[in-house]
Amino acid sequence: MQTSTLDYRKVRQEKIIKALGNKDTSVQFDDSLENAMVLNMGPQHPATHGVLRLLLKLDGETVIQCIPELGYLHRGYEKLAENCSYHEYIPHTDRLDYLSPLLNNTAYVLAVEKLLGIEAPRRTQFIRTIISELARISSHCLAMGALAMDIGALTVFLWTFREREKLYDIFENLTGARFTTSYTRIGGVAQDLTPEVKKMMEDFINQFPEKLFECEKLLNTNRIFVERMDGVGVITREKAISLGMTGPNLRAVGIEHDIRRVEPYLLYNEFDFEVPTFEGGDCLARYYVRLNEMKQSILILQQALEKIPQGPIHAFDTKKVLPRKERIYTKMEEMIHDFMLINIGAVPPIGEVYHAVEGSKGELGFYIQSRGEGQPWRLKIRSPSFCNLQSLPTLIHNSMLSDVVAIIGSIDPVMGEADK
């Protein structure tokens, strides 16, 4: 056991050192104090937003080269999907981007419904839009709080957590769990939106803008915050598109690309909202994009809660949608359908589909290949944090060591999603 542990570390280090070394650092130093140093910002670090390992090659305080190493949270999601039916996989999607689990549920269920060729009723689409926007607010709150905490402003972190606790109360009342909700189902949602929960949501929406303004007052004109973020981690438009950056990071470079506008899903083409875009491509622009997205989410929520109609919340397709519990206990066909759906799963036709939604970190896509069975043949999760982290070496190049923390915070990666 002892020798094999040493061997695997040696193999890994050799390959990483080769990757670190063979870039264009052609400077030669004679003085031993002037040599470049390799620093390991290890997987366990307060500011790396999860288990991300960064190997930094430093020349004094300036970062010449950066190699991110992922895989410390690789849980085998894609292999699990090949062994679960489409219904059984819904709880796993909660744990992908664990800051906005309701959004992941919605994204997965929309992809499966596209594959199956069914559509959920109108009230369900309203409910799904509402919970997506609430999940987006929750995720951006934490992103803002964690970024401020990394810069040094601890108060904002505690204030945004207070807001998130109110959101958790709403989610608990609606779905039964604080987070990891597994709320959506194929063809509908699990429970209906009661008037009590609607009142809680309206109360939250009414008081949130002023709380957000309190946090803004602390940060926007704060000289330390602005100077640590302005001009730090700049990226150009062409590089951002080529590297596959997505979400608020892409909108901070000046490209107005939002899947809610470009390929509207759910009911986004019926609501009136703007897509905040900023020029600049630096950390401050990314922060402003997230801030304004929260305000636009509040607008969407206000419109949705006004217009939500009454009606059924499950699609009526007996071979693909789980039937209601009352009917299972009393009617024969529903019992048989329930049995078949739980054991074999909803069976789609042979084919493949790729469906993307605008997650809180960017474009969250599911690519599902089906061979006519109850389990997918291949399920690939296109996670936005994976693609955003790929641009980290470009963003960090030639910045100081203390800027690394600000840059990671402004990209806002979530390792549960990036490592799958």
């Binding site: 690789h74 085998g76 080529s242 590297l243 084919g351 790729y354 690519y367």
Partner: protein, 164 residues
């Protein structure tokens, strides 16, 4: 069906296209793997296509005796707002595919992930290392003949004696 793009491709690369499929309003074009770099550059640069954004690059295991592995490219055009999917097949005995990381830099890590999970080797990639599994892992996890619960003792646990 993205007829404009399909016709352009058929005109420019007549002998590379194997099949065109459509399902749920999405177009999938199966091409030969040798010409993938030229096809990618054409799709990125041609003014009627302008697929400048690589959404996703993944591998898949079809588990057939010939043409076992697939590599799937999901492309999006930001200016023209349309999507398309390109697919290539490769063999188990010769799992080499030309890399497109010079066309879209986003392909860099995605190809590393496909190598890690399936063992598909991308020729011309500047840094083909494993992405998620530790560097000395000997198997390719997402292949269909690899069990879900893993192979016992393929990954070492740390030493449990307290360090003195």
């Amino acid at each position: 069906m993205n007829q404009v793009v399909v016709d352009l491709l058929k005109k420019t690369f007549p002998d590379s296209i194997i099949e065109v499929k459509e399902f749920r309003n999405e177009t999938t074009i199966i091409v030969k793997k040798e010409n993938i770099v030229k096809i990618s550059e054409f799709l990125r640069d041609n003014p009627k296509c302008q697929f400048n954004y690589l959404s996703d690059l993944c591998g898949a295991d079809a588990y057939t005796p010939e043409n076992r592995f697939e590599v799937i490219y999901n492309l999006l055009s930001i200016p023209l707002k349309h999507r398309i999917r390109i697919k290539i097949f490769t063999d188990e005995t010769n799992p080499n595919v030309p890399t497109v990381s010079n066309v879209w830099e986003a392909a860099n890590w995605c190809e590393r992930e496909a190598y890690d999970m399936f063992g598909i080797i991308f020729d011309g990639h500047n840094d083909l290392r494993r992405m998620f599994m530790p560097e000395d892992f000997e198997y390719y996890p997402l292949r269909k003949n690899f069990p879900l619960m893993g192979i016992p003792n393929s990954l070492p646990l740390p030493d449990t004696n307290p360090k003195k």
